[in-house]
């Protein structure tokens, strides 16, 4: 099950969000050695905010995360407009109907190979379901050489935004994916997904003080 966590309902997902930031620290800082800041074992960057939408696949609403990803609105500063501007030949698609997907994070102990490919497929299906729900037309993302072919071949329609940067395994490249029902059907078919994966749990009613 992939939980959609937004400003509206994040209050009931503090445990999951904290676990996600902890996994991001373990994966991006400890394992992949990205130069990111951490505090008290959590990786939180300038783009983490109430305005981001998090997709968190977990065993329960309180823990057991298998994979997570972050969706950022693009009508304000986001990674592609600030950090990765060089990867785009023209100004990247942005605006109220475009999201940027970042921080695709399999759990630190996730098995490599096929299980990770399936995780990416489920997260892409989750991104498409959520984007359709919110009326989003396009999703941009930056992918490494390892991830790019898998993401590109998932079944959604993808276009490169530039030739990329770096060589071999260190190459990174920016892409934009089209969000439509046909694409979602193809992704689901490719990954044997028979039903919607995402759930949106509304905020709890306010408690009496």
């Amino acid at each position: 099950m992939i939980y959609i966590v937004s400003a509206e309902n994040r209050r009931r997902f503090y445990h999951l969000l904290t676990e996600m930031h902890r996994q991001r620290k373990q994966v991006f800082i400890d394992q992949l050695k990205w130069r990111l800041d951490e505090s008290a074992g959590l990786e939180i960057d300038a783009y983490d905010s109430e305005d981001a939408i998090y997709l968190i696949e977990a065993a329960t609403p309180r823990g057991g995360i298998s994979v997570s990803a972050r969706l950022l609105p693009t009508d304000r500063p986001h990674l592609l407009s600030e950090q990765f501007r060089d990867l785009c030949e023209a100004p990247p698609p942005s605006g109220p109907n475009v999201w940027e997907a970042t921080r695709f994070c399999p759990a630190p102990d996730a098995a490599s190979g096929a299980p990770r490919r399936l995780m990416l497929g489920r997260i892409i299906a989750g991104i498409m379901e959520t984007a359709l729900l919110f009326g989003i037309d396009e999703v941009t993302y930056v992918a490494s050489a390892a991830l790019a072919p898998m993401a590109k071949g998932a079944g959604w329609e993808v276009r490169a935004l530039g030739g990329g940067c770096g060589k071999g395994r260190d190459k990174i490249q920016a892409f934009v994916a089209t969000i439509d029902a046909d694409g979602l059907r193809r992704v689901r078919a490719n990954f044997n997904i028979s039903a919607p994966l995402t759930r949106f749990a509304p905020a709890e009613p306010a408690r009496a003080a």
Binding site: Y14, L17, R22, G41, L42
Partner: protein, 245 residues
């Protein structure tokens, strides 16, 4: 109330409040509002017998504190040991997973967990106190908003400083400054050298070496040279490297 407002209101309150106990209450209330249920902001000593002038705010369950005190857990608790060597806030689970724990340490952690003291975070505090201090926080059942972490750290670090200042209004005294010769002699005394050996090493009279150390003792107001060495190490005029041969 947003975390930023809670934190700024707390700092504003500290600025205007002279009474340390009022700041303590507000400190606990602010951290409660940020989602933390258990708070221990103290020096690393027996929580039921704090040193005079030391900040000690602990709202852990009393039964646990009594057991902690009776069994001298302060000398065993791996979280305390971790807080001593860590320079930045850390998450218990992450640190403990990398630390070799003995049977007794595992028992302390398991018994604390039975009181709900699990999955916490500790913020090491650099305090002008001889004993290391830290603030440990354990979230309540609903968890805490990860984006509020920076504001939580602000409350803890500022609050600890404010309470320390209120509890020690006369703490700001003239710092001791050792002249070069006294510092050299004291460092050699700290390496176990006699007055005669210090004189030989520095090419000065044995009597001069002795008098330099006596003057350093008077500056610190202590009666034994070992005490003067410890004080000089603590206030940074001698570093531990000076003492190793």
């Amino acid at each position: 109330m947003p975390a930023g407002k809670l934190a700024l209101d707390f700092i504003d309150f500290c600025e205007k409040q002279a009474d340390a106990s009022m700041i303590e209450d507000r400190f606990v209330a602010t951290l409660n509002a940020l989602g933390y249920e258990h708070i221990a902001c103290a020096s690393h000593v027996d929580p039921l017998r704090p040193r005079p002038g030391a900040v000690s705010i602990v709202n852990y369950p009393m039964a646990w504190l009594q057991q902690y005190s009776a069994e001298n857990f302060a000398y065993i608790d791996p979280v305390f040991l971790a807080a001593r060597i860590m320079t930045a806030p850390f998450n218990w689970d992450e640190f403990l997973s990398k630390m070799p724990l003995d049977r007794v340490q595992k028992r302390v952690l398991a018994e604390g967990a039975a009181y709900g003291l699990t999955g916490g975070m500790t913020i090491p505090l650099r305090s002008p106190d001889v004993i290391p201090a830290s603030c440990s926080l354990v979230a309540g059942a609903d968890g805490v908003e990860p984006l509020d972490l920076a504001h939580t750290l602000m409350v803890v670090i500022y609050g600890h400083g404010a309470m320390h200042r209120r509890l020690n209004p006369n703490a700001l005294v003239e710092p001791v400054v050792l002249p070069c010769r006294e510092r050299q002699c004291l460092a050699l005394a700290g390496r176990g050298k006699s007055d005669w050996a210090i004189g030989e090493l520095l090419g000065i009279n044995e009597r001069t070496a002795h008098n330099s150390i006596e003057r350093a003792k008077r500056r610190y107001g202590v009666s034994h040279r070992v005490q003067a060495v410890v004080r000089a190490v603590f206030d940074g005029q001698i570093v531990l490297d000076d003492l190793s041969t």
